[in-house]
Symmetry: C2
Subunit: 308 residues, 2 copies
């Protein structure tokens, strides 16, 4: 079951209370690919990189079943670069540098060989780019999942709303859900956002887990309490990759199965934060993932019969 993933492939410089790296591969497309490829192949990648992006990384992705025909390589420009520093609580960070480089000219063309994909993951990008991808697809995918961020709400709200009308699932964090809806209550925020377009809304709450809304239903996934969060970079994209990877594998887009997908995404994200960048995502096995899923079952399992 093929899955198109659109997102950045980049370099990050990251500083956390536990250490720093000056240059590590990152970007939403990288994290989605590493997470989703645990469940489904091929991942049909759409992205743009500069002359400096390592061939070794490309080769690793190919080995995992990631197709790179849709990744444009610009020979005379550098790859997108982001630098950030996390605060002590790891829930907040300051962006130090954003060098768009190749991303400034990102006008992706969907390869002919990608047409017919049943699942589409739109990573956080300019809404106009996200919309262009949707419009290029000759057959509408069975499921379109979209990530975005507060930045686009501030400078491209109309474009953002146009994309929202065309997607099935929106993923944002709690602050972004409140900003987009103008509502403090996440329940009210969810109703307002779903009225714009998406039938499903995932609200990511970092260490506090995630909420999945659909019609009048809500599902709460816990965050796995971790002894150490080493580097949160990419956790949200990893969540997205696990979420859509599970759905693409099972070909079941019911609310019931999306609940499971939220748990799968949470489990994958809990690995991502254990090492810098995507390093941990390159190591984990199917057995690691199954064990972690078992921890999530234990984490929320309770017996209520005794009360009634």
């Amino acid at each position: 079951m093929s899955l198109i993933s659109v997102g950045t492939m980049a370099f990050d410089a990251i500083e956390t209370p536990f250490g720093k790296v000056d240059k590590i591969v990152g970007g939403s497309g990288i994290y989605v690919a590493y997470a989703a490829s645990n469940f489904v192949t091929p991942i049909q990648q759409i992205s743009i990189v500069g002359y400096d992006f390592p061939q070794e990384e490309m080769d690793q992705l190919k080995k995992r079943g990631v197709q790179l025909e849709g990744v444009e390589i610009v020979p005379d420009k550098k790859s997108f670069f982001w630098s950030g520093k996390y605060h002590v609580d790891m829930n907040t960070r300051d962006t130090l540098v954003t060098d768009l480089n190749v991303l400034a000219d990102f006008n992706p063309v969907v390869p002919e060989s990608y047409q017919g994909a049943e699942f589409l993951m739109l990573g956080n990008l300019a809404p106009s780019v996200q919309l262009s991808i949707i419009n290029q697809l000759t057959t509408r995918p069975k499921l379109i999942v979209m990530d975005t961020m507060n930045f686009w709400m501030e400078i491209a709200l109309d474009d953002l709303k146009a994309v929202l009308k065309k997607v099935d699932v929106l993923m944002v964090n709690d602050g972004e859900a409140r900003q987009l809806s103008g509502e403090v209550s996440l329940v009210k925020a969810a109703k307002t956002i779903m009225e714009i377009g998406p039938a499903f809304l995932v609200i990511k709450k970092g260490e506090h887990g995630a909420l999945l809304f659909h019609k009048n239903h809500v599902f709460s996934a816990p965050g796995l309490p971790l002894e150490e969060v080493f580097d949160p970079t990419g956790a949200g994209d990893t969540f997205a990759g696990g979420f859509i990877g599970h759905l693409a594998k099972t070909k079941d887009i019911s609310f019931e199965n999306m609940k499971t997908a939220v748990i799968v995404g949470s489990a994958l994200a809990s690995f991502c934060v254990e090492k810098f960048g995507p390093n941990r995502m390159k190591e984990i096995t199917k057995a690691d993932i199954d064990a972690r899923l078992g921890e999530f079952v234990q984490l929320v399992n309770f017996d209520i019969d005794v009360v009634a």
Copy 2:
């Protein structure tokens, strides 16, 4: 199965974005009594009030099975008074007034008729008062649950640690757990705090739910996503009352049953915030509680078999 509850009975003035009340009955002992009496009677109350505390409130409590022999009435002083104003997000508040009044002289004496109680709820009070209660009991209760707050960590840390060595369950919020332990990670904070004394730790996270720690086990209870939080006052005490009420009813203090107790406490707290002060707690029925517990089951229920 009798349960001793020690806590304040007071007047509150509360302002939220939805309205204000100048004088409403409140205090930790009130909320614990209303919550716990849904599950077990008698509640053997220990508190102190002034001449101004309404007889009508006393009568309502008696009707619910709350024994008041341990409630001292000071004829020439006013009851404890607290006034607070909530911020728009309802997660934070400013304390405007704290008039200790009778609470300044609170040296509770455990009535002889209360001796032999199997469950003890120590509401948030000076640690020296909490310790005095424990020391007056001729038979150690089967379970001692303790609430506290950051204030006591700042001015009475040694006393607080002395009480911690004698209790089974500590309840604090996430900020307090971090402050008490000096650890940012809640998992590390829990280990540090349990090493001081309590075998169980409940970390309350407001709208994000609660965590229960015991040895190497952890359980995550969700917060029920609510369309409107009208007044959070007393939600933590209501949680405590539901928690210990369920345990006292079932007489089962295993980790497994404490998980259920955390859900029961969360369900009760989700009612508390629906109206000002304890008003909603006076209305709800057993059927309301059972329906709400059903919502919690739905909220976290997922099928993971499909993944493995």
